[in-house]
Every structure is written in structure tokens, then in C-alpha cells.
């Protein structure tokens, strides 16, 4: 590698780690360390044509380590139900003009559709491919979701 390339590489690294403010979008804070990529996929952020920053293992006074997701897009494009299902303790900061204008509280959705698949091999969804995979919140206290068809408990995602 030439000296020029080494310099360029270092610049790139510095640029990538210095994740700046976003002007409009949302910041998902207090994500459990290691969960950000799973959330990225479930929110289908890969399909959005916008800037997404994934910060893993950031230091946190509260959690020790945490992940953060910064997305520069319209807040309405975010499916809060899916996020609430994955982890309703995540903080959703809505950003406008570079400032936090709102902190949205997440709730456990009553029902989620086609986010996860039922893993019970005896469930009708295992043979009828066109059926939507629906899970229903059956115990708010214990945060238990069950398959609408076979009532099998949802495994952690």
C-alpha cells in the first residue's frame, strides 16, 4: 500500500467514526448492544434511499454498552409497531432542523403481521405458504406474543 492510500484510508476511518448530526429524521437510542442490525433489517432500512448510521457498542451510563441508529428520513416511514415489538424500551428521538423535537414513546403492539414466522412445525402456517404470520399480544405484563393460529409462544427475535 502506498503512503497516499494509507492517508486516504485513515481519512475515511476518521470520517466514518465521526457521525454528525442529522437534519431531519430519527435517532433510535438505548438499543441493547448487538441488536441494531436486527432492527435495521426488521425496519427494512436497507430499502430506504437515505443516510443510515449504525453505531454499535457505544458507551452508556445506563446500559454499559448500547447501539444507536441514526436515519435521515421522514419519521412516518418508521414502523413504530415493529420497533415496539422488538424492544419497547428504545428511545425514539424525532429530529427536525438538527434538533430533537419529540421523544416518542413506544408501546407493545396488540398484533404484529409478517415480522416473524411461527416456528411450530405443527402450525398450519408451516404448510400454507400464503398465510400471513400473525402474532397477538396475550400477556402485557410478561410481554408474551402467541401465534394467532396455533398459540405457540413467540421465540425471542
Amino acid at each position: 500500500m502506498t503512503d497516499v492510500n494509507k492517508t486516504l484510508d485513515r481519512k475515511e476511518v476518521i470520517y466514518m467514526l465521526n457521525v454528525g448530526k442529522i437534519e431531519e429524521g430519527f435517532v433510535l437510542d438505548h438499543i441493547k448492544a448487538g441488536k441494531s442490525l436486527s432492527i435495521y433489517h426488521h425496519l427494512q432500512l436497507d430499502k430506504l434511499d437515505c443516510t443510515v448510521a449504525i453505531i454499535k457498542n457505544a458507551k452508556s451510563g445506563l446500559m454499559g454498552k448500547k447501539d444507536i441508529l441514526k436515519v435521515e428520513c421522514d419519521i412516518d416511514k418508521l414502523n413504530l409497531d415493529i420497533l415496539g415489538f422488538i424492544d419497547h424500551t428504545i428511545t425514539v428521538n424525532v429530529i427536525k432542523n438538527g434538533e430533537i423535537v419529540e421523544k416518542r414513546k413506544l408501546e407493545l403492539p396488540k398484533e404484529i403481521k409478517n415480522v416473524i414466522k411461527c416456528k411450530n412445525p405443527r402450525c398450519i402456517t408451516s404448510i400454507e405458504q400464503e398465510l400471513p404470520h400473525i402474532f397477538v399480544l396475550t400477556d402485557t405484563e410478561k410481554e408474551i406474543y402467541r401465534c394467532k393460529y396455533c398459540e405457540e409462544k413467540c421465540a425471542e427475535i
Partner: protein, 304 residues
């Protein structure tokens, strides 16, 4: 239009109405003999079942209706790959009500979402079998005179037996029901029943190993089969199986008004010598199964 997927689809008040109707059918069968003239019941059984299918068919015939259907998946269009959703759309054009048994859990529920006729779950895998539970409840109510204020012993395979789990869930809605669970350690009730159903609702229960130790305290004894293949080794099976065989000797320890129920088929867990005991009501239970299915068909067809 109402479908029946679980015994808990009915409130206890609705069950009272259903059981009152079943009682009237028992007392005055002639009154109901032609009430379903011109109506058809489709029995869609994707896996073989003798008692449940015949019970549904007898129920419809007793009401003057006719039956059509299939008794295993191989003789249905499922063998050609047709979905449950499509089959029920077709059945809706042929019949007025459908009883469906399927090895996959939730299949009757899928059918109910696409159906133009009431669908009754006649058993879906290890999940639900509501008409068995309704049969059990009607038998208890008719022969004991009440649902509630009794101690019921459930004996045998309490871990995998869906009829047992379903009956527990149905009975906790009545007051002053005490449970005694009689099973080998390997086949005890699952944790979720113990924690989420019983402890959560402060339902009194005890768990014992031997039937002799508790039979004297029971108002009702619900027997189930202990299957050899459920045990980890043959030695344990041989050592324990006699604890769960009801015979004359064990019956001599029971109260004179204790009733013995069984969802059937019985293999060897109830000795045939018990059959003549007036407290053995498992064959009457089969008859109540027909009455409750008749009441259910009338209720769902809104002919009651």
C-alpha cells in the same frame, strides 16, 4: 355468524344456555327430530377419527339433517395440494355448517376466516378440541347437577393431554373448583398451566403421584391414558403404570357419589370390571357428546 375454535369462545352464560338446550334435547328428542330438515353438515376430517366424526354425524342426523364429507386427507382435494382456505370456500357452497379436524394447529381457524358457513373445530393437532371439553362440562353438569364447588382429580398423562389442559382452562371459570393432579413426575402438568393458569388465578391444586393417595377426596375423577412411549425407560413404566390403572380395589376407596370420566378411547387404564359400577359414566359421556353437538349445531345455525 359464530365459529367455535376453543371452549373459551363461549362465556359461562352462553355455555349455560347451550347446556340447557342440550338438556332439553335429552328430555325431548322428538321435539328436535326435524328441526334441521334440509340442512347439511360437512365433516371435513383431514385425519382419521372414529368417535368425533360419528358423534357429529349422529348429532346432525338426530336433528333431521344430512351429512357429507371426507374422513381422511387422502380422499380429499388436500392430496392434490388444495389449501384449507380454498377447500372451505368450496364447502361453503355445499353445506350449511362444517366440522373440521386437521392435524395442523390453527387450520380450522384459517378456514373460519374464509368461510361463509359456521366452522366448528373438531380437533386441530395437539391444540384444541372444544367439543370434547363441552362434552366433559355437560356430563359433569348433568350428572353432578353443577359446574363448580367440587374437587376434581385428573389422572394419567397430564403433560401432553390436550383434553386435560382444555378442561382445566374451562373449569377455572367456575367458583370453588379444586384440582388434584395425579401423574408420574415425567407427565406432570406443564409449567405454563401451573403458573399462568392456576397460580395466577389463585386456583387451589395439589400434585400427587399415586391415585390411591387422593381418590377418597374426589368428587370427580377424570382418567386419561398413560402411554408407554411417554416414559424414558421401560423400568419406570412397569413400576408406575399400575398407579394409574383404575380397578375395583381403588374404586372401593372412593366416595359413593364420585363420578369417573374418560375422553376415550380407553386402553387398560380403567379395568373393565369398573364398567358396571354406577359411578363409571364414561359411556354416558359419549351420549352427552352427541347432545352437546346437537345443541351446538342448532345454536350456530340459529335454529335454537
Amino acid at each position: 355468524m359464530k365459529h367455535v375454535m376453543s371452549p373459551l369462545d363461549f362465556t359461562t352464560e352462553e355455555l349455560d344456555k347451550l347446556f340447557d338446550l342440550a338438556g332439553d334435547i335429552e328430555r325431548h328428542p322428538d321435539k328436535y327430530a326435524h328441526i334441521c330438515d334440509g340442512k347439511k353438515l360437512a365433516t371435513c376430517f383431514y385425519e382419521p377419527s372414529t368417535r368425533t366424526r360419528l358423534s357429529f354425524e349422529a348429532a346432525m342426523m338426530n336433528l333431521g339433517g344430512k351429512v357429507l364429507g371426507f374422513s381422511d386427507a387422502a380422499s380429499s382435494s388436500a392430496s392434490k395440494g388444495e389449501s384449507v382456505s380454498d377447500t372451505i370456500r368450496m364447502i361453503s357452497c355445499y353445506a350449511d355448517i362444517c366440522a373440521m379436524r386437521h392435524p395442523k394447529e390453527g387450520a380450522p381457524m384459517v378456514a373460519s376466516t374464509k368461510s361463509r358457513i359456521p366452522v366448528i373445530n373438531a380437533g386441530d393437532g395437539g391444540h384444541q378440541h372444544p367439543t370434547q371439553t363441552l362434552t366433559d362440562l355437560l356430563t359433569i353438569r348433568s350428572l353432578k347437577g353443577r359446574l363448580g364447588s367440587f374437587t376434581i382429580g385428573l389422572c394419567g398423562d397430564l403433560k401432553f393431554g390436550r383434553t386435560v389442559h382444555s378442561l382445566i382452562n374451562a373449569l377455572i371459570r367456575y367458583s370453588n373448583v379444586k384440582f388434584v393432579f395425579i401423574s408420574p413426575v415425567e407427565l406432570k402438568i406443564p409449567d405454563y398451566i401451573r403458573e399462568d393458569v392456576l397460580r395466577k388465578n389463585n386456583i387451589p391444586f395439589q400434585e400427587v403421584i399415586r391415585l390411591e393417595d387422593s381418590i377418597a377426596d374426589l368428587d370427580l375423577l377424570y382418567m386419561t391414558r398413560v402411554q408407554r412411549e411417554r416414559f424414558f425407560n421401560e423400568e419406570d413404566y412397569v413400576r408406575l403404570k399400575d398407579f394409574y390403572i383404575l380397578d375395583k380395589e381403588k374404586m372401593s376407596l372412593a366416595r359413593p357419589d364420585m363420578l369417573v370420566l374418560h375422553p376415550l378411547p380407553r386402553v387398560n387404564e380403567i379395568s373393565v370390571e369398573v364398567d358396571d359400577d354406577p359411578r363409571a359414566v364414561y359411556f354416558k359421556q359419549v351420549q352427552y357428546g352427541v347432545y352437546v353437538r346437537m345443541a351446538l349445531i342448532l345454536t350456530l345455525l340459529e335454529l335454537a
